[in-house]
């Protein structure tokens, strides 16, 4: 009976093609294989985000009058509402962490080399979209910390030369953060960003499947070539063990450290002490904070913003700047630069939490 149903579905849905792809897909096994798990991990956490996000939509109300109250309602009145919201918040953070690991490992293993430039570019766009998800979602509970973090964050955008003032108005939907900003961020968070992510993620996954897994230069030239593991079921089962571990971690975090709600945002209240952005923006925040007020007669913050922007562009274009063979002095330079960038980001993120000021 079950097998007949399976047959029926196969014929109707054309699952053979998919099965063929799944059967063909394999993963090289070598000492850097561990890093192959992080893309899947990100995808799993993204799935959790989609599921819990849809659930939150059942009770959330996007208006300055009701947003805070509705989140409070979810946390206190709705059965397991605290769980859904805590998982959504924690999983968001874990997902951004996984994205970061995925991106940096791809960089260090030079997975962006030809013919995978487009994979890298789409991945970088997805990273940017993940950060945008985090930034827009942070405001939605309309609490004091989120309000001021958003104010600071959009202020920084406003300091970008030429397009800054426009960007500020574009993000806030006006000069100030108001209920209109909340509605806007809600629209970004639940409609625009998901739509864009769906497309780019589709492209990214297609490209990964199309080109197969990249092998790092240190393993590439070796004879015999590294053995390969079938994706289904061997690698997928391993993936699932990792996902279950992440799920267990989420359950622990949500039950032991339910995500706080804090106080309702009050635009007229003075900014609370110790406003910090979400940790993944921390290194940029810390960089701007530690710059002197003027560098060579230009405003320090501006220099910082331009520097970070330039760094981002260079990072994005690395597939075209690095040696396509992944060897030689140019390749070594980029590897060292990558290591420096990782150390820089880690150190500056930690500095935010040491409360270090210049």
């Amino acid at each position: 009976m079950v097998s007949r149903l399976r047959e029926w579905l196969r014929d109707r849905l054309g699952l053979e093609a998919l099965e063929h792809v799944a059967d063909k897909k394999d993963v090289p096994v070598h000492r850097h294989s561990f890093w192959y798990y992080w893309g899947g991990m990100t995808l799993f956490l993204f799935g959790i985000q989609v599921a819990t996000g849809i659930l939150l939509l059942l009770y959330y109300r996007a208006s300055a009058d009701e947003a805070y109250e509705s989140v409070r309602f979810i946390m206190t009145q709705v059965s397991f509402g605290w769980l859904i919201r805590s998982i959504h918040s924690w999983s968001a953070n874990l997902m951004i962490g996984a994205v970061m690991v995925h991106m940096f490992s791809a960089f260090m293993l030079k997975a962006y080399r030809a013919p995978r430039e487009a994979t890298w570019l789409s991945g970088m766009v997805l990273l940017g979209l993940s950060l945008a998800f985090g930034f827009s979602g942070y405001l939605l509970p309309w609490n004091q910390l989120a309000f001021f973090a958003t104010k600071v964050g959009t202020d920084i955008t406003g300091a970008v030369p030429v397009i800054g003032p426009f960007m500020l108005r574009f993000l806030r939907g006006g000069e100030h953060i108001t209920g209109g900003t909340l509605t806007r961020f809600f629209g970004f968070h639940v409609a625009i960003l998901p739509a864009v992510v769906t497309v780019i993620l589709g492209v990214h996954l297609y490209l990964v499947t199309h080109h197969g897994m990249s092998v790092p230069p240190s393993v590439e030239g070796r004879t015999p070539p590294p053995p390969r593991m079938k994706f289904v079921p061997n690698f997928l089962l391993r993936d699932m063990v990792g996902w279950l571990a992440a799920l267990a971690l989420l359950a622990l975090l949500a039950a032991l450290f339910p995500w706080e709600l804090g106080l309702k945002a009050d635009p007229y209240a003075s900014a609370p002490a110790g406003i910090k952005p979400e940790w993944y923006f921390g290194w940029m925040f810390q960089t701007l904070r530690m710059l002197p007020s003027h560098i060579l007669g230009i405003e320090g913050e501006l220099v910082g913003i331009l520097g970070i922007g330039l760094g981002g562009v260079v990072w994005l274009l690395v597939p075209f700047l690095d040696d396509p063979r992944g060897q030689g002095p140019r390749a070594r330079f980029w590897r060292v630069l990558g290591a420096v960038a990782i150390v820089y980001v880690v150190v500056f993120t930690l500095l935010v939490y040491r409360g270090a000021t210049p």
Binding site: L55, L58, Y59, R61, D65, E66, E69, S70, R72, F73, Q77, V78, S79, F80, G81, L83, I84
Partner: protein, 142 residues
């Protein structure tokens, strides 16, 4: 061969259990709670019969108390009950037709204006509707 079946069976059983652990909270979450919505703009402050003419009632409005006044000439009024002086809860004095704070003898008129005593600011006024038996208090639109 037998052991393999056993493992397959165990995985299915455990998978089903895990599915239960995920689906149970989901199902519970989808069931609307007994209080149907997150209310703070609007609240049923009293039943009509609760407050006789000339009487008043304090009711929770969000995290703060509100005061519902039923005047002798059958008007309904609702205001914030938090005295603007030091935050005591105010009451209605039918004899004076005024809202009165017992802590430092602050008086407000029925529009919430601070008319005597130490209160520095008026009380916030709310909008009242009577719908059937329910007296509903709403925050005024800004």
């Amino acid at each position: 061969m037998k052991r393999r079946d056993l493992l397959g069976w165990a995985i299915k059983a455990m998978g089903a259990t895990l599915g239960g652990f995920v689906l149970y909270p989901l199902a519970r979450y989808l069931v609307p709670p007994s209080i149907p919505e997150a209310v703070t703009r609007r609240v049923v402050a009293a039943k009509k019969g609760d407050v006789p003419p000339g009487g008043f009632k304090t009711f929770p409005f969000g995290a703060q108390p509100g005061i519902l006044v039923h005047t002798a000439d059958d008007r309904w009024l609702a205001l914030s009950a938090v005295c603007t002086h030091l935050g005591c809860t105010v009451q209605y004095k039918n004899s004076d037709r005024m809202i009165w704070c017992a802590c430092h003898n602050g008086f407000y008129d029925l529009d919430g204006r601070n008319v005597s005593g130490p209160p520095p600011r008026p009380l916030e006024r709310y909008v009242v509707h009577v719908e059937g038996e329910d007296v509903i208090v709403e925050k005024a639109k800004a």
